[in-house]
C-alpha cells in the first residue's frame, strides 16, 4: 500500500535526518515506527503526506507516486493525527470532523451523516457531542474526535504522530484498544509514530525501528523480540521486559489446553501477560479459561513459561 523508496531528507550540511530509507507497509496493516527523539521517525511520517518534501527518493501510495498530486490534494486523501489532537478550538465537534469532507466539497447532508456515523463509531452519542466545542470534551474524547476527523473522508491511509502522547495511562490503554478495533473494522493502513515500545508492540502488526535517520529493522513484534537485528534494537525491545512483551502479543485462547483449574476464571480474549499476572498474584499454577461465560479449558503456568522464552531453535541472544 505504502512504498517508501530510498527516501532522504537533508537540511543544509547537517547529517541527513532521514537517510536513504526504504520500507513497505502492506494494505490493512498497522506499522509502528519506533525510535528515540531525533531518530527521524516524525520526518519520515511527514514526508509520506509531503508536509516535508523529500530531498531524494520517492513515496508510492497504492502504486502512485505522491509527487503526481499537489501537496494539499494529497493530504486530503490521507488521514493525519498529531499529538495533542490539534482540534480547531473555534469549531464545534461536527465542524472539526467535517473538515476534510468540506474541503472536498461534499454535500451538506453527506457530511452530517458521516459526522454522526463517526461519532457513533467512537462511542460518542452524536446528539450530545455534535455541537460541543473541543474545550468541552475530556482529553480522551478530544483524542477520539481527532482520529474521527482524520478518518472522515474515508482515507485508505492514516498517519499518526504520537497520537496518544498527551493521554494518561488508563485512557491511553483504552484509546489504543479502540484504535485497534476501528482499524480492524475499516481495514485502514496505518503508520503510527511512537517512542513507546509498549504501544508499538500492542498496536503494530509490524514494527520499524529507526535510529539516526536509518531503518534498523522492520519486522513483526515476535520476530523482532526473538531476533533483534542490532544491539540498539535489542535495547529498545528491552532485555528485562522482553518475556512480558512476548506474552502480551498472544491471547489466552492460543494457549488454552483441556483440563480443570480452581479460582476465578480469565477471559479467552485477555492476553497471556495478564494471565501470567493473574497466576502470580493469586499463587495458582493454572487458571480456568472462559469464553462468553463458558468454561473452555485452562491455561497453565508451564505453558506461559514456554511461550515467554524465544521460539524453539532460536539461540538465546
Amino acid at each position: 500500500m505504502i512504498r517508501v523508496e530510498t527516501l532522504s531528507k537533508r537540511y543544509g550540511e547537517a547529517p541527513p535526518v532521514v537517510d536513504d530509507l526504504s520500507m513497505e507497509v502492506a494494505a490493512g496493516e498497522i506499522c509502528a515506527v519506533v525510535g528515540t527523539s531525533g531518530s527521524g521517525k516524525t520526518t519520515l511520517l511527514r514526508m509520506i503526506n509531503r508536509l516535508v518534501e523529500p530531498s531524494a527518493g520517492r513515496v508510492l501510495i497504492a502504486g502512485e507516486d505522491t509527487r503526481n498530486l499537489r501537496g494539499h490534494e494529497l493530504r486530503r486523501r490521507i488521514g493525519y493525527v498529531i499529538q495533542g489532537h490539534g482540534l480547531f478550538p473555534h469549531w464545534s465537534v461536527a465542524d472539526n470532523i467535517g473538515t476534510v469532507p468540506r474541503l472536498l466539497r461534499w454535500k451538506r447532508a453527506a457530511i452530517d451523516a458521516r459526522v454522526d456515523e463517526l461519532l457513533a463509531l467512537f462511542g460518542m452519542e452524536p446528539a450530545t457531542y455534535r455541537d460541543r466545542r473541543p474545550a468541552e470534551l475530556s482529553g480522551g474524547q478530544q483524542q477520539r474526535v481527532g482520529v474521527a476527523r482524520a478518518l472522515a473522508a474515508r482515507p485508505d491511509v492514516l498517519l499518526m504522530d504520537e497520537p496518544f502522547g498527551a493521554l494518561d495511562p488508563v485512557i491511553r490503554g483504552r484509546a489504543q484498544d479502540e484504535l485497534a478495533a476501528v482499524q480492524a473494522r475499516l481495514g485502514t493502513t496505518v503508520v503510527l509514530v511512537t517512542h513507546d515500545m509498549e504501544e508499538a508492540v500492542r498496536l503494530g502488526h509490524r514494527i520499524a525501528v529507526m535510529d539516526a535517520g536509518r531503518l534498523l529493522q522492520c519486522a513483526t513484534p515476535a520476530e523482532m523480540m526473538a531476533r533483534p537485528a542490532t544491539p540498539f534494537v535489542e535495547a529498545l525491545v528491552g532485555g528485562a521486559e522482553r518475556p512480558f512483551r512476548l506474552l502480551s502479543l498472544d491471547r489466552v485462547e492460543a494457549a488454552v489446553e483441556p483440563g480443570e483449574a480452581d479460582g476465578p476464571p480469565i477471559d479467552a480474549g485477555a492476553n497471556l501477560r495478564e494471565a501470567l499476572s493473574a497466576c502470580l498474584w493469586s499463587g495458582r499454577d493454572a487458571l480456568p479459561v472462559e469464553r462468553n461465560g463458558q468454561r473452555i479449558g485452562r491455561v497453565t503456568l508451564a505453558a506461559l513459561r514456554r511461550r515467554a522464552a524465544p521460539e524453539a531453535g532460536t539461540p538465546a541472544p
Binding site: 503526506n49 508536509l51 493530504r75 486530503r76 486523501r77 493525519y80 478550538p89 474541503l103 474545550a135
Partner: protein, 396 residues
C-alpha cells in the same frame, strides 16, 4: 470571644469601596450643585443644593443622596447598588435642568446656569457605584451592550424632552447646532476612517511580520518611534510634506490633500494606529497553537484557507483588542486635529479655551468622551463574545 466577634461581624457588613464612594458622594452633596453666572464668560457663583433648587426638589435630592449613601456603604446585592447609582445619576441630571429654570431670572437671555462641582462629584460617585455593580453582576457581552444602549436612550430622552434646555451647555449648543453636527460628523469620520485605513494597512503588515520574522523587529521599532512623537508635533511635522505633495503631485489637491486641514490629521491618526494594530496582529497570530496550524496543514488546507478559517479567527480577539485601543485613542486624539484646521469636536474645545468659555469646552469634550466610552464598551463586548466562542468552557 463574642464581645470582639460582634463588631467584626458588623464590619464585615460594610462595603469598603462603597464607603469610599459614599464619602465622595458626601463631598458632592456639600459642594455647589449649580453655578450661576451673569453672562457666559464671567466667573460664576456656586449654589448648594438647598439654594439651587426649589425646596421640594432639594428635599427629594437630599433623600436620594441618603439612600445612595446607605446602598453604597452597606453590603447589599449588586442589583440594589446599580439601582441606587443609576437612580441618583438620573435624578441629579433631571434636577440640574430644573435648577436652570429656577435660577435664571425670567426674560434674562445672558444669564447662564451650569452644573456645579457638586453635581459633577455626585454624578461621579453615582457612576462609580453603578459601574462597580455592573462589573460585579458579570453581565454577558450582549447584556452590557443593552445597558449601554439603554443609558444612551435615556440621555437622548433627557436632551429631547428639553429638561436641560435651560443649561448653559445647551445654550451654547443652541447657537451652533448645525456646526455641532457638522464637526461631529467630521470627528467620527476622522477617528473611524483613520482606524479603518490603519486596519487596511496594518493587518497585511502584521501578517507579513508574522510570516517573515526578520521584518518584525525592524518594522515594529519604526512604528514604536512613530508612536512616541507627540500628537501636536506629528500634526505639525506633516504640514510640510503634505503641502509639497499637494503642490507637486497632480490630482492630490483634488483628493483633498493639503498641508493643513483634515489630510495631515488623518495621516497622523493612521500613523498612531499602526503600532497597536500591527503588533496585536503579530501577537495574535503567534498565539495560535502550533499544533492547530499543523493540523490544518495536515488536513490539506491551503495557505489562504488556513489563514482565513483558522489563524485569523483564532487571532481575532487579540487583533480586535488592538483595534479597540486604537479607536478609543483616535477618538481622543482627533480633538487635536482642530489645531491644524482638521475640524472635529476639538473646534469647540479650542474656541472655548480661547474665549475662557468653559461651557463651550464642555460642548466639545463631552461628546468626545461619550463616543470613546461607547466605542470601548462595544468593542470590549465584541472581544469577549469572540474569545468566548473560541474557548467556551464546559458548563457541565
Amino acid at each position: 470571644m463574642p464581645v470582639l466577634a460582634a463588631p467584626a461581624a458588623a464590619w464585615r457588613r460594610v462595603d469598603r469601596l462603597g464607603v469610599l464612594i459614599a464619602l465622595v458622594a458626601c463631598l458632592g452633596a456639600a459642594l455647589p450643585f449649580a453655578l450661576f453666572r451673569a453672562n457666559r464668560i464671567v466667573p460664576g457663583e456656586g449654589l448648594a443644593i438647598a439654594s439651587a433648587l426649589p425646596s421640594p426638589e432639594a428635599a427629594l435630592l437630599g433623600l436620594a443622596v441618603l439612600a445612595f449613601l446607605a446602598a453604597a456603604a452597606l453590603r447589599v446585592p449588586p442589583a440594589v447598588k446599580l439601582a441606587a447609582g443609576a437612580g441618583l445619576l438620573a435624578l441629579a441630571c433631571v434636577l440640574v435642568g430644573r435648577s436652570a429654570g429656577f435660577l435664571t431670572p425670567p426674560g434674562n437671555g445672558f444669564a447662564r446656569v451650569a452644573p456645579g462641582s457638586g453635581f459633577w462629584t455626585l454624578g461621579f460617585a453615582a457612576l462609580l457605584l453603578a459601574a462597580d455593580a455592573l462589573v460585579r453582576l458579570r453581565l454577558p457581552p450582549l447584556a452590557r451592550v443593552t445597558v449601554l444602549a439603554l443609558a444612551l436612550a435615556l440621555l437622548g430622552l433627557l436632551l429631547w424632552s428639553g429638561a436641560w434646555d435651560g443649561l448653559s451647555l445647551l445654550k451654547e449648543y443652541g447657537t451652533r447646532a448645525e456646526r455641532f453636527w457638522a464637526e461631529g460628523r467630521r470627528h467620527v469620520a476622522l477617528a473611524f476612517g483613520s482606524v479603518a485605513a490603519a486596519c487596511l494597512v496594518g493587518l497585511p503588515l502584521g501578517l507579513l511580520c508574522h510570516r517573515i520574522k526578520p521584518l518584525r523587529a525592524g518594522l515594529l521599532s519604526v512604528l514604536n518611534i512613530l508612536q512616541t512623537v507627540p500628537s501636536i508635533a506629528l500634526f505639525g511635522l506633516l504640514i510640510g510634506p503634505l503641502a509639497w505633495v499637494a503642490a507637486n503631485v497632480p490630482g492630490a489637491r483634488a483628493l483633498g490633500i493639503s498641508g493643513i486641514g483634515a489630510a495631515p490629521a488623518f495621516v497622523a491618526l493612521v500613523g498612531y494606529s499602526l503600532l497597536p494594530i500591527v503588533s496585536n496582529t503579530v501577537v495574535g497570530l503567534a498565539g495560535v497553537s502550533r499544533s492547530v496550524v499543523e493540523a490544518a496543514r495536515g488536513m490539506g488546507m491551503r495557505r489562504g484557507q488556513r489563514l482565513f478559517r483558522v489563524e485569523l479567527p483564532l487571532a481575532a480577539p487579540v487583533i480586535l483588542t488592538g483595534i479597540r485601543i486604537v479607536l478609543v485613542q483616535n477618538i481622543g486624539i482627533a480633538t487635536v486635529a482642530a489645531l491644524i484646521g482638521g475640524g472635529g469636536f476639538g473646534v469647540f474645545v479650542f474656541q472655548g479655551v480661547g474665549q475662557t468659555a468653559m461651557d463651550l469646552v464642555l460642548l466639545g469634550a463631552a461628546p468626545t468622551v461619550l463616543l470613546a466610552f461607547a466605542a470601548a464598551v462595544l468593542l470590549d463586548a465584541a472581544v469577549e463574545a469572540l474569545s468566548g466562542s473560541n474557548f467556551r468552557e464546559a458548563a457541565r
